[in-house]
């Protein structure tokens, strides 16, 4: 496996969706290629940092309008 192939398979590798044979080839390549190892590690960190992100509090005005609209909808449906 060459560097170009590693880059192409990064997503499936970090998702654990790579065929065992390909996974082994990719890991063997990384043992000897520091650049590819760095890209793979940093891409995984990129996904993790977004994956761990937490939504901020909903602004109170946005929340109020949402719940008012919802109550109107519920009321309409009941009539």
């Amino acid at each position: 496996m060459n560097c170009k192939s590693v880059i192409r398979e990064i997503s499936d590798y970090i998702d654990g969706a790579l065929e065992p044979e390909l996974k082994q080839e990719l890991e063997q390549h990384m043992e000897h290629c520091e650049d590819c190892k760095m890209v793979v590690d940093q891409t995984k960190q990129t996904v993790d940092v977004f994956c761990d992100s937490e939504p901020i509090e909903l602004p109170i005005d946005v929340k109020t309008r949402l719940h008012e609209a919802l109550r109107r909808k519920i009321s309409e449906k009941r009539q």
Binding site: F50, L70, K73
Partner: protein, 229 residues
């Protein structure tokens, strides 16, 4: 449009909020999602029977995440609010059609993503298309390889990290951003993402790979050892 009802068509009193901030560095409540899954079906069943309080509980539970989703797709606060509202109102109106073969949240995400995409297409008719083929492999090879050091995200305060993530995702092209948001932030499967966006599984995978590599490149500016922003 539903969004006009509660403001009588007048301009909204949007507070000045500076840069859009939607993401934070840590998620201490991450494990709550597995607890939430356990009783979600009970709330949905009660809501289907007409229990308005049960539906409101579902809204309370997911409103922040749905607003984050619509905001991340549209990158426009007014559109994000409208998309979120319409998503909840439509899910309420069509609750009887929800088959419960997937999580309610996943179904809701699909509705909200479509509402957000509709607004994004309207606002950027010539800049956004999921139908367009994507370029070949040539641009994939990463540039700017620099050591990030151990745990680069820990070097930043929570608010700083929120700004960084908001900045880099804002600069990602919409057709890559949408796929990344559904797959890596909302944690939909590849198949669910493809279904939500009406594109093929290979198209999702291809856009996701490019999105992740582009974001890595953008984060490099902040995370490299001794790097400045």
């Amino acid at each position: 449009m539903l969004c006009v009802n509660f403001m009588d068509g007048k301009a909204r009193p949007w507070p000045v909020i500076g840069p859009i901030q939607l993401l934070s560095a840590t998620n201490p409540h991450r494990f709550l999602s597995s607890i939430a899954k356990e009783d979600e079906h009970l709330l949905v069943a009660a809501a289907k029977r007409g229990d308005a309080a049960a539906f409101e509980e579902l809204v309370n539970r997911y409103e922040r995440k749905i607003f984050r989703l619509t905001m991340n797709i549209t990158r426009n606060r007014e559109d994000a609010e409208d998309a979120m509202q319409d998503a909840f109102l439509k899910s309420y109106a069509h609750l009887k059609d929800f088959q419960e073969d997937s999580r309610f949240y996943t179904w809701l995400v699909r509705i909200a993503a479509n509402e957000a995409l509709m607004r994004l297409r309207k606002r950027r008719p010539n800049q956004f298309s999921l139908d367009e083929p994507i370029e070949g492999d040539e641009d994939l090879m990463p540039r700017e390889l620099e050591d990030w050091g151990p745990s680069p995200e820990q070097r930043f305060a929570q608010t700083e990290m929120r700004d960084i993530l908001s900045d880099v995702i804002d600069k990602l092209e919409p057709d890559f951003r949408v796929v990344f948001v559904l797959r890596d932030i909302e944690e939909l499967s590849t198949q669910e993402t493809a279904k939500a966006l009406g594109i093929s599984v290979p198209a999702v995978k291809s856009r996701l790979l490019r999105a992740r590599l582009k974001l890595r490149q953008k984060l490099n500016r902040y995370f490299r050892q001794g790097g400045t922003n």
